[in-house]
Subunit: 374 residues, 4 copies
């Protein structure tokens, strides 16, 4: 039996997954004579040993395809819902399957959640290696993740289109983009599309400051504005409340306190839903201009990856196989400037990469007069 | 003073407006030595005599630009809100402005609402001529309107992207597209993007029928579905209720009854908001599959017009000037097969072009096994 | 054995082929319980009986794919090169294969050459039915062909890009687009992209008239121009020469004369190669402006079909199966306004649809001041 | 008079120029109260003092526009052709104009040639500062230039489209992309589009090796191949000849010898024209497969910049103004990893950034089995 690598895709959709699978499969076969098998639907397929061999014909024609040919799922390997009502640790079963296939490595393509799962698998002795994929660009330890460039392109093109309407109708156009709890996507697409206001989780906003900016523009003869809002953005008040609730959860000493804190956070998050729509209403009131809200949603996650994402996914896939051949596992393959490095999973799991407040994008935004709401 | 044409853009945004303005201006100047002036912000600018001369340099470089260089607004010429709390008939003022500029014609670019306004202006002796623009394609009396092709492209590309996610995550993806009270945009983008279900106002739907289709697909090994919903689509029950309310409004004999009926319709429409989200929840319940909703929204209205829309807007603009030169006013310039005709405004105002139930798109959808929910 | 339809794609590549194959297969199966088999590489595969069953899984995911999953080739069924040095009539072999599969119909997707081949097959009793596909839009008897809208989009987008360069560098940008011997593609993309000059086969051009237009623009302060040239466009002199050679070929009474005329035409066509580059040089000389030539080439033939082409291909595919079920063969499925008709192959084979000189696009071009070179 | 910055764009077209101009103007005004004036048509406009003030309204709406609102030209400041037949050093005149406007800095947007010109201006005391723009990505001293990402996108999309044709017709598709004397664009677009062969100047190729790769694919059941050729790619023989000629030019001691060497190089370059077409013919001969050549040409230079290029141009424009405010002139603003640095013009002028042979893209290409022709 030839040496074998396993691969799976987990978590949310992100353009470039198929490009990465292809690169792993092609370079494994060509350079090291290894074969590739793919598990279906993420860790769930690993548990159930649902797999497919990925030979040359399976990898042909997928470079520019969105989604993942393997399917994906969201789950936690040590607390899986297997239908009996209580979360179970399914890692032993996964380990057995990895051993049955004699996998030299299990490549896990995913974001923060996937990396945590991978580390948990490493802890029971499975030779995992992660590639950072997410449109949110929030994986700790790497300069960039694949999927992000495509999402920036989609969001920018959409905001470009919304400019027409804002301009023709003298409206405030409020656009909510993805990004999870970070502002990468909002900042990049906002600057690239010439937004007037960009609101991100890293900079809690003040509605009055936002309204002021819009009124200044109106006074200066531009009775329309584009406001780009990251899905995780919060007003100053909301951010303070959230910080308190988080602190309470951290400090909870009993299970009861923990549960109570958790419930409060959930209630808070529930109340945050539709916050973008409420923001638009508040801006209407304060400025006397009509507003329209667009939630870009899942279109940002799918479809043909950009050339830059195909290149990045390919480069990471190739490097991943080289690391496997060297026996480097328990790591994430990270981009650091022009080079690619293997970073210990323990260093990155459970962390999130926020936009630093002195990042060139934040500097650029301020210099151009884009309001960040602070 | 050279012979002069006036032009304005009214109602919602629609790609191709600038292409039409350019064609009118260029062909008027070159063929008939006429000049063009544009009124700002629709009929409001006509009333306030806010205008701009549109010479060659103003028309350069706008062919591929979205929105309208003139601005737009929504209003009714005979019942305008001018700030004193009661709607006023401002047509006399508009007539005075038209006469002051000695306009041979006033070109109004718009959809159903604009055509009604134009007819009202014709009734007081203003020489209007309309070009049918709307992304909804619902203007009566013409085969097609400009803006529609672009909107179909945008919606199709978005649904193409959502396919990735539906497929990778085994989800029901519900996409709401525009179209006002008609299903043109939903049908075209749904068929073009390979949707599994398309719900349109012309065919009231039954949630169970939709769920059945999705379950059939699941059983056949495709545990994901794309459901495209026109913003005006209604369940069978909602459609019946709405029909009753409309009938009541028609039959109302006193002002009081009319007002009451109107209020009921408004309440109904309020209740219809978020109906797409409720549909998604009902489908989740009935099928056991996760669902995700995307409301495409205003991105469908803006940005660079497609080549087909630029061509159509250009052709209509050129024909419009020829009609003006012939003295044909009080008309809409309509596409009929390969030719362009002038149709009396009286024949088209107040009517809406629904998708006929035997339209080739509906036939195609049924033949391909796309569920229409009936 | 279920009732069976055969299908093949022939001639040049054109976006929408897979959409048409999918529509034929899906509606045949669903509505009439018929199965579909596809022959590989056009008529060559029919001859060699190389075929593949096209079940639901083969038709999934191909709606938006360019090219053809069946492959294609260029050949003549009654004079095929089968490697023995002399062209052979291979129709008997094809007929045998059609009979072996008990095909109710053989659907041929193609342009002018394919329709001629199909007619020849009909003459030996094969139940053919054609769908008109070509990016050139030159099929006689139908308002439009699928592939054309996509090609117009690609060409327009390319010319949009070239505008930047023309403008920034004060250059004449000469762009050659496809279209075979007709000007459909050049006219549509030229008008849609704001070209200054459009040269098409239907209107032989005079280099001096083209240079005059460019000089006028220069004088008026626009020292740059976009010249769109159909690949079949000819100068007045070339057109006259070509007409004479064609006449000579028609009038040739002996085989010897015919061969001589053919050789002369070939020599003429050889001399026409690079004529676009020569035109650019002549324009440089006459205007004193730098020029740049771009030959768009095969990018116009491939890739994802536009939504309009997917819809058209789907509609024709569905109608085709309905005609087959009615026993209508020996026909081409044609678009006529809003409806679809079956047209006898004899009426359309060997003819080419030129742009009529009074076509709305030619009218629009002249009204806008676009020079056609006459 | 407010403090003033001058700006000009020189050399070939590159997407992002307007985004950079906008960023310089906006951040200069907002942060430092400086005004911006632009010289028309590159260094020529500087010499002739043809300039335009760039206030807020001039900078609005240009972020996503291709080309340059200032125009450009190719010239050498110390050897300008001013119509009297002999090249003249026009720097004194330029210096006078810079002094007349009391410019704090002259921002020059351009590639290698522009940087050389800027250094020559610095030598006479003009406070220049350069931003690296070129689609070729070949500017020494910076990780990346703006325009490159857009060009990669355009080229990749075109090659994606050509895949359809290659596949459907069993052809060799040979695509020539730009890149000047480097392989950046060819490598990136070739890997991103799944090319089978990529030929770049950094790796002289052997036609037999290329043909072998194509034949291997044919044997393995893929009778089609995509060959991406950088415009500067050379066969091994051509590269050797060129190296000899270059050496001779370097070693030439008399003016006569220099001129002779120059003439030989020109003759060589002339002979290299159409080398891509000759390559295609040679591949046809060696493989027995049909081939088609596409020269992508100037479409790679124009049109809407990608979001990544808009961001990069914005970031560099903002940093440039910060450097000017600090008095840092005589430098190029360079990207180095995540940061932006000012690099002395003397360090970068006259050098070219080739693709290093151990670059990750070359490594990826080899690992995936893409032939580089060596």
């Amino acid at each position: 039996m030839p040496r074998t690598i396993g691969i799976l895709t987990a978590g949310g959709d992100s353009p470039g997954l198929n490009a990465a699978i292809r690169a792993v499969g092609k370079s494994a076969a060509r350079t090291y004579g290894m074969q590739l098998i793919g598990f279906r639907d993420g860790f769930r397929g690993l548990m159930e040993n649902r797999f497919v061999r990925l030979g040359p014909e399976d990898l042909a024609g997928i470079l520019d395809r969105g989604g993942t040919i393997l399917g994906t799922s969201r789950t936690r390997v040590h607390k899986m819902d297997i239908g009996n009502g209580k979360p179970m640790d399914m890692r032993p079963m996964m380990k057995r399957n990895v051993e049955e296939h004699q996998l030299e490595a299990l490549v896990c393509l995913g974001g923060g959640g996937t990396i945590k799962n991978a580390l948990r698998l490493a802890e029971v002795g499975i030779p995992v290696i992660c590639l950072p994929k997410t449109i949110d660009n929030d994986v700790y330890g790497t300069d960039v993740t694949f999927g992000y460039d495509t999402a920036v392109n989609i969001a920018t093109e959409a905001i470009d289109r919304l400019h027409s309407t804002a301009h023709s109708h003298h409206r405030i156009v409020v656009v909510e983009v993805m990004g999870h709890n970070t502002g990468w996507l909002a900042l990049a697409s906002g600057i690239a599309s010439g937004a007037d206001v960009i609101l991100i989780p890293e900079v809690p906003y003040d509605v009055d400051a936002v309204a002021d900016k819009i009124l200044q523009r109106k006074t200066a003869g531009s009775p329309f504005s584009i406001v780009v809002v990251a899905e995780g953005a919060m007003s100053r008040e909301a951010a303070e409340t959230f910080a308190k609730l988080e602190a309470r959860k951290q400090q909870a000493s009993t299970d009861e306190e923990k549960q109570a804190a958790k419930r409060e956070i959930e209630a808070f998050e529930q109340a945050q839903l539709r916050s973008t729509e409420r923001l638009a209403e508040e801006l209407e009131e304060r400025t006397g201009l009509e507003s329209r809200v667009t939630i870009l949603g899942h279109v940002q996650r799918g479809g043909t990856p950009s050339p830059a994402d195909r290149l990045l996914a390919t480069r990471l896939g190739v490097a991943c196989v080289d690391f496997i051949a060297e026996g480097r596992v328990g790591v994430m393959v990270a981009v650091r400037g022009e080079s690619v490095e293997a970073v210990d999973l323990k260093e990155v799991a459970g962390k999130r990469r926020m936009v630093p407040l002195d990042h060139p994008m934040i500097h650029s935004a301020r210099r151009l007069g884009i309001a960040l709401g602070d």
